[in-house]
């Protein structure tokens, strides 16, 4: 029997609902998402702008603010069943000790007027509950694990380079050894060379702690390098999911296939084509499969019905009528 997943998302729908001057608008940012993240797994979630992945992160982080509302579905963590039903106090207990985040623009989330040591106190002291000397030793050891000189605890964020600040953010997110880490574009603003070092370091920390990571980025190169399992989001839905090697080697959904084929690679000068058209307007999405206006394989049924996620075996799933006829 396979062990229980650490995260289980079912039927999740989250919309932005606004009403201005009597006009109601509903942006269906996440519109029916189901997936699991296993223990000790890096699950990569790929998608472009308006894919819904950023909204999905906010919901999983229980960082919901109007006009964002969960309209349907549930989120279950092994350590926090029915996350969406938890009140602020219960959430505070879960956060950082079990569930932590590395958010986009992490570099700006370190408090600029507090030294690094104080950020560790702010985030982790309560959870680690150690006497002062032991706490400082734990912080020093952990900083070394992310390849930082423990002396940087005396520094202010602006005294560190972008790469170093990102490592501090990762250290903060992992010092309590949480079971689950949500990472939203963790290396986007970093230089290529620093990015690779930081990603490799993230993986070694993850393997060391045995935590699971939901890694969200539009950058397929990052997923290829780090993700064990890859989910592709388009216009609020998951369109394909599977082991990373399988999805790259044999992308079954037309969107995935086209996306991977359009990426330039060093060593290959062959002409590449962009995807025709534009991502849909989520306030007025197309009926049926949301990809059909841009899909070279679109059939009549695609315009009417939403294709269900169907298993292709070996953990590879795809939602497409061309692959799995209705």
């Amino acid at each position: 029997m396979s062990p229980e997943p650490v995260l289980s998302v079912r039927g999740l729908r989250a919309y932005y609902r606004t009403r201005h001057f009597g006009v109601e608008r509903e942006v269906r940012a996440v519109d029916g998402v189901d997936f699991d993240v296993e223990r000790n797994q890096i699950y990569g979630l790929a998608g472009e702008s308006s894919s819904g992945k950023t909204t999905l992160i906010k919901v999983i982080a229980a960082a919901l603010k109007p006009p964002l509302q969960v309209v349907a579905g549930r989120i279950d963590f092994a350590f926090a069943p029915n996350l969406l039903s938890l009140d602020a106090d219960a959430l505070a207990k879960v956060r950082w000790k079990h569930l932590s985040y590395i958010v986009q623009g992490s570099m700006s989330t370190l408090n600029p007027v507090r030294r690094i040591r104080e950020s560790f106190v702010d985030f982790a002291a309560r959870h680690l509950a150690l006497p002062r000397a032991a706490f400082e030793r734990a912080v020093a050891e952990h900083l070394q694990r992310v390849q930082l000189d423990p002396a940087i605890v005396r520094a202010y964020p602006h005294e560190l380079s972008g790469g170093m600040r990102q490592r501090v953010t990762i250290a903060l997110a992992t010092i309590c050894r949480p079971e689950f880490i949500v990472a939203d574009e963790p290396t986007t603003a970093l230089d290529v060379v620093v990015q690779k070092e930081v990603l490799d370091m993230m993986r070694s920390i993850q393997r060391g702690i045995g935590s699971s990571v939901l890694l969200v980025t539009h950058d397929l190169g990052v997923h290829a390098h780090l993700a064990d399992k890859l989910g592709i989001m388009y216009a609020g839905r998951l369109v394909e999911e599977g082991p990373t090697t399988a999805v790259f080697a044999q992308p079954r959904h037309p969107y995935t296939a086209h996306l991977i084929a359009s990426l330039p690679r060093i060593g290959d000068a062959a002409q590449r084509q962009p995807l025709e058209g534009n991502p849909p307007n989520l306030a007025a999405p197309p009926p049926g499969c949301r990809f059909h206006p841009r899909c070279p394989l679109a059939m009549d049924v695609c315009k009417r019905e939403v294709p269900p996620m169907t298993s292709l075996g070996s953990g590879h799933r795809v939602a497409c009528f061309a692959v799995n006829p209705a």
Binding site: P264, G267, A269, P274
Partner: protein
């Protein structure tokens, strides 16, 4: 009679003073960079560098918005430092057009896009109303859009990819000889990136426009460049034929850059 090169960057350096008025600290953002783009043979010349490499400062000097501390830049034989007066500046700007990284920052969010294009046509080509519409439409068609799609729309109504195409259309209206594109696709979705990148190839091949393409992305540079120059802390560390340099980089920094590229293929 031989023609002047299109662009000569001749031992150009740029220093910035750091600290206060009395500080002696100097930051050398660009350090003795030289290269030449020949006339009559349009090419895509990529400048690769990370942040702090000086690539954007170099772009600014080519666009004549930043003055070099040492060295000279010459466009079609004329030293940029000699360009004086509004008319001369406007003539230069018509010949050398920029494309910037963030399409949403390139346009006034309160201006309709077609108006933007008409204003460009009037300003650089002296077009009247009817001519401006025609030029705008022609430019948009070249980038795979049309005036009908863009008429009356504001920047926020288009995707980043579409908007960047409008930015290219705007740059084409004055019939430039050179386009300086600073990270033109890094904020555009991956699936739409190829539209802009392929467009640059078309501009070179069909319209004879030379392009200085500035990026940190080695893969797109490999895909479209004729020649590349790799910059580190203001200096060019390696340059030459794009495919050759990227297939087998010689300088340790070039090798480090290439080694850090994450190819979209697991286990690569």
């Amino acid at each position: 009679m031989s023609t002047s090169p299109l662009l000569e960057v001749d031992h150009v350096s740029k220093d910035y003073a750091r600290g206060g008025l009395l500080s002696r600290h100097r930051l050398r953002a660009v350090d003795d960079v030289s290269f030449t783009l020949e006339a009559g043979r349009a090419e895509i010349f990529s400048i690769i560098g990370e942040s702090g490499s000086g690539k954007s400062t170099l772009a600014g000097m080519i666009l004549n918005v930043v003055t070099p501390t040492a060295g000279h830049l010459r466009f079609e034989g004329t030293d940029l430092a000699q360009i004086r007066g509004r008319d001369a500046h406007r003539r230069f700007m018509a010949r050398v057009q920029p494309i910037f990284q963030n399409p949403f920052e390139s346009f006034n969010p309160l201006k309709q896009l077609d108006h933007y294009l008409f204003i460009t046509a009037r300003r650089f080509v002296g077009a009247d109303e009817a001519q401006a519409q025609r030029l705008a439409d022609e430019a948009l068609v070249k980038v795979g859009l049309s005036l009908a799609e863009v008429r009356g729309r504001f920047p926020h109504e288009l995707s980043g990819g579409q908007l960047q195409r409008v930015a290219v259309a705007r740059a084409l209206i004055p019939s430039p000889a050179l386009i300086v594109a600073d990270e033109p696709v890094s904020m555009v979705d991956a699936s739409l990136r190829m539209a802009i990148v392929n467009l640059f190839k078309t501009l070179r091949d069909e319209l004879g426009i030379a392009i200085v393409y500035i990026t940190h992305d080695l893969a797109t540079a490999y895909y479209i460049s004729d020649r590349i120059a790799i910059m580190q802390r203001g200096r060019v560390v390696e340059s030459g034929d794009a495919r050759r340099v990227l297939a087998d980089p010689q300088h340790p920094y070039s090798r480090q850059l290439k080694g850090a590229v994450l190819q979209p293929a697991p286990g690569a």
